[in-house]
Amino acid sequence: MTEAQDLPGRAAAAPATGRRRGRWPHLALEVRQHMPGPQQALMLGASLVAGIAISTLVLVAAGVPAGNLLDEFVISIFTRPRNLANVLVYTAPLVIVGLAAAVAFRARFWNIGIEGQMIFGAIGATLIANHDIGPEGARLYLMAATAAFAGMVWMLVPALLKLRLEVNEIISTLLLNYVAFNFLLFLLYGPWKDPQSAFPHSKMYDAAERLTRIGFFNVDTSIYLAFALAVGCFLLLVVSRFGFLLNFVHANPKMARAMGVRVAVLVLSAALVSAALAGVAGFVISAGIDNRMTQSFFVGYGFSGILIGFLARNNPVLVVFFAALIAVLMVAGQGLQVFYQIPSSMVLLIQAIIVICAAASEFLIRYRLRLVR
């Protein structure tokens, strides 16, 4: 009997023997029946640690001394208040876009158009600001509400296309981002160009149109708003009847429909809430960080939002945690760029590594690796 031909790909041609790899210990895959919740959490935690470890190797290879990494990522963030403040400033919009992604994904509505909805949100807010609509005391509220509304209006197109004509929302929301972006450029190079500097950004918001600082460096009230929205989303998705039924739409839309759940209404509502959140995120960046509408305020937030929603498994509480994690990455990444000449894309690379590791944990939750001797 011929022994041990380990020739992957040619297996079908090789003579059959169960001892093909018999003498060497190797890994075999097996479907798991079920993995309990705590073990799943542990698995996700372990994969995040693995992701951080790989990222460390990448950074060290890129020239950051290993000994300085802990300092850059942990110590400097939590010991220097200014850095912590920066993290909080980034956290607020990240929480909101993360929530936007989570709400939509819960309905299996793949909203890739968060950036487009942010743009429309900012346009809505700037419209109010530019024309000084409403009393000053209510100005910010009006801006926020208009931003949410504008985001929803922008979502109405892909949502209805999906529900009426079954147009794939991944394509439509993605492409509408470019439409929104070009509309933004039109406004900023045209009617809304800053009259003072003639630069392509909107004119500076008045004091009453800016989010107030809370007295900790440059941190503004958007952080409160973000937490409030996270609580709101928790109530909506986890506590309310809407959330309960939405879980069924997510798990098995066919069954939900047969049970009498108004699936289309729920999906439309979730998509609109998602877009409203994205609109508010656009408002928060414009009125909190930039104090005006710029032509690039939204860049990267769409991707980060999707990533946070994915890592958090669409859970609003975890969204806050992962948004903070990404914010730490962004702030530390800026430090690395300045002090070690690391390219900014490195931060994106690290985000990607962490996401891939988290996705890999999904595989290990479904399958068991067995060492066969």
Partner: protein
């Protein structure tokens, strides 16, 4: 000798093709297989019987390399082997056709076979596989359009592709998991003829099934499993259906007809229902029937004659093109959406349990409670109350004897078929419905679970509900029906009183009047 495992030349008839000794497999602290011995001879059809969860599928998954046993020995054609993956199984000449086919819908039949049998380049492979497939189809007496897209083929055709797929891969030990659950009687007969042909040229076939009659009429030997153990292996002449039932469930289960004692007034009246599906195929051609309180109306018929569409129309999933549906006390309800109909007292047990009746990723409690939540129970719109939900679910699990539920927070997808069905029934019956539409509710269930389902349907009837039972299984129809309708080509072609002769109904089903 390794060549023998692959070759399709007649192996020594009667010699063991596969021998398993002391196979044990545990999942956590659950013992799925407990020191199981099993042997399969060359040239035989060997039926493997047992309830859901008896370990049949797990045992066969061990053979197919999907699970590694905790311990135990396996021999193929007399050689000790270790099967540590599907690849190994394939090289040993073991092929398994799973209950849910592993086919790619967008690919053609030929491409699906190629996917499983890579042979050199794509072009070479296509030629080689086409020849091999035509050859195999010829030998088996199968007619399959190799260039048809998989999702356009009927279920029996898909099954043929699955079988050809593993034969071309060189399988001589062929494992079939519930192969006839999706076939009509006539199709099943043809199927077994083909399997007998395979066995006669020296292959061996394992038939995992719930149907005793199949095992008794087509198998050379029968092995019964229960609770992860092998109970007995016997020749069909040595046993009868009653003995087998007793071996399978451990006790004697005999179901007897129990006609309704009081049939009341019509509750649901359907007249002239017509429906054309999205593809332009006319599915319902004027269905007219009425359901009375306190009766089980059985709709017999071969699957695909409009039953699914009738259920969809009755439950509000698809509005009919013409005709009307009336519900006693509510007037015309044609075209109302499912939530409205359910609120008026309609309940449904769909045929596709995991697809349409349950959300497998959600908990037992949630799956139980969704009906109640939609009806406004378990808290208001702002907050769903989890605790009463869990308590109600736990009570229902007890009342309906849903086994295998360790906590109400367990995922519903982990329940076995019978228990999943009991959970569906518990939910559907919790609102005390006045009309129940049950579509093949005992399909794929073992004897005991099927008896439980029947019991629940009878209990609902005795509570004065009107029950519409749609079934392809004539035994079930004869057992339960107070009245029988036969559906064919989108019409109700005949109606009979309960207890009508089986042949009369059968003739109406196939249209030889």
């Amino acid at each position: 000798m390794s060549q023998a495992a692959r070759s399709r030349a007649p192996a020594e008839a009667g010699a063991p093709a596969l021998r398993m000794k002391g196979i044990t497999k545990t999942f956590g602290d659950f013992v799925a297989l407990d020191e199981v011995d099993f042997d399969l001879r060359n040239g035989e059809i060997h039926a493997l019987l047992g309830e859901n969860g008896a370990g049949k599928s797990t045992l066969m998954n061990v053979v197919a390399g999907l699970y590694a046993p905790d311990h135990g020995d396996i021999e193929v054609q007399g050689t000790p082997v270790r099967i540590s993956g599907p690849q190994d199984a394939r090289l040993l000449g073991i092929g398994m056709v799973h209950q849910h086919y592993k086919l790619v819908g967008g690919f053609t039949a030929l491409e699906n076979i190629m996917l499983f049998n890579p042979r050199g380049s794509f072009r070479q492979s296509r030629t080689a596989v086409r020849t091999a497939a035509a050859d195999a189809a010829d030998k088996l007496g199968f007619r399959v359009d190799l260039d048809a897209r998989m999702d356009r083929l009927s279920v029996p055709e898909q099954q043929r592709v699955e079988i050809m797929k593993i034969l071309i891969a060189g399988a001589s030990i062929i494992i079939l998991d519930e192969p006839t659950a999706v076939l009509t009687d006539a199709e099943a007969q043809k199927f077994f003829a083909a399997m007998r042909g395979l066995a006669e040229i020296g292959n061996s076939v394992v038939l995992v099934t719930h149907r005793l009659s199949e095992a008794l009429s087509y198998a050379d030997r029968i092995t019964v499993m229960r609770g992860g153990r092998r109970i007995r292996t016997a020749h069909p002449e040595e046993v009868d259906a009653d003995t087998l039932t007793e071996l399978i469930v451990g006790t004697r289960i005999v179901e007897k007809p129990a006609p309704s004692e009081h049939v009341g007034a019509p509750v649901l009246t359907v007249s002239g229902l017509e429906l054309t599906d999205a593809g332009g195929v006319v599915r319902l051609r004027g269905v007219t029937l009425d359901l009375h309180a306190g009766e089980i109306y059985c709709l017999a018929g071969i699957g695909g004659n409009g039953q699914t569409e009738l259920v969809e129309a009755l439950t509000g999933l698809v509005p009919p093109d013409a005709g009307r549906i009336d519900l006693a006390g509510h007037g015309k309800v044609t075209g109302l959406p499912p939530d409205r109909l359910r609120r008026l007292g309609l309940a449904c047990i769909p045929s596709d349990r995991q697809g349409q009746a349950l959300a497998g990723d959600l908990t037992v409690a949630e799956n139980f409670a969704i009906g109640g939540v939609l009806a406004g129970r378990f808290g208001g719109a702002l907050a769903v109350r989890r605790k009463p939900m869990a308590e109600a679910a736990a009570a229902a699990v007890r009342d309906f004897e849903v086994m295998g539920v360790r906590s109400a927070r367990q995922k519903a997808g982990l329940l076995s078929g019978g228990n999943a069905q009991k959970l569906v029934i518990a939910r559907e019956f919790s609102g005390a419905p006045s009309v129940i539409v049950a579509h093949s509710p005992s399909r794929g269930l073992d004897v005991r679970a099927a008896a439980a389902v029947h019991g629940h349907l009878r209990a609902a009837r005795d509570r004065k509900a009107a029950v519409l039972l749609i079934s392809e299984d004539l035994d079930e129809v004869l057992l339960l029906a107070d009245r029988i309708g036969v559906m064919r080509s989108g019409r109700i072609v005949a109606e009979f009183p309960g207890g009508t002769d089986r042949r009369t109904i059968g003739r109406a089903m196939v249209g030889h009047d």
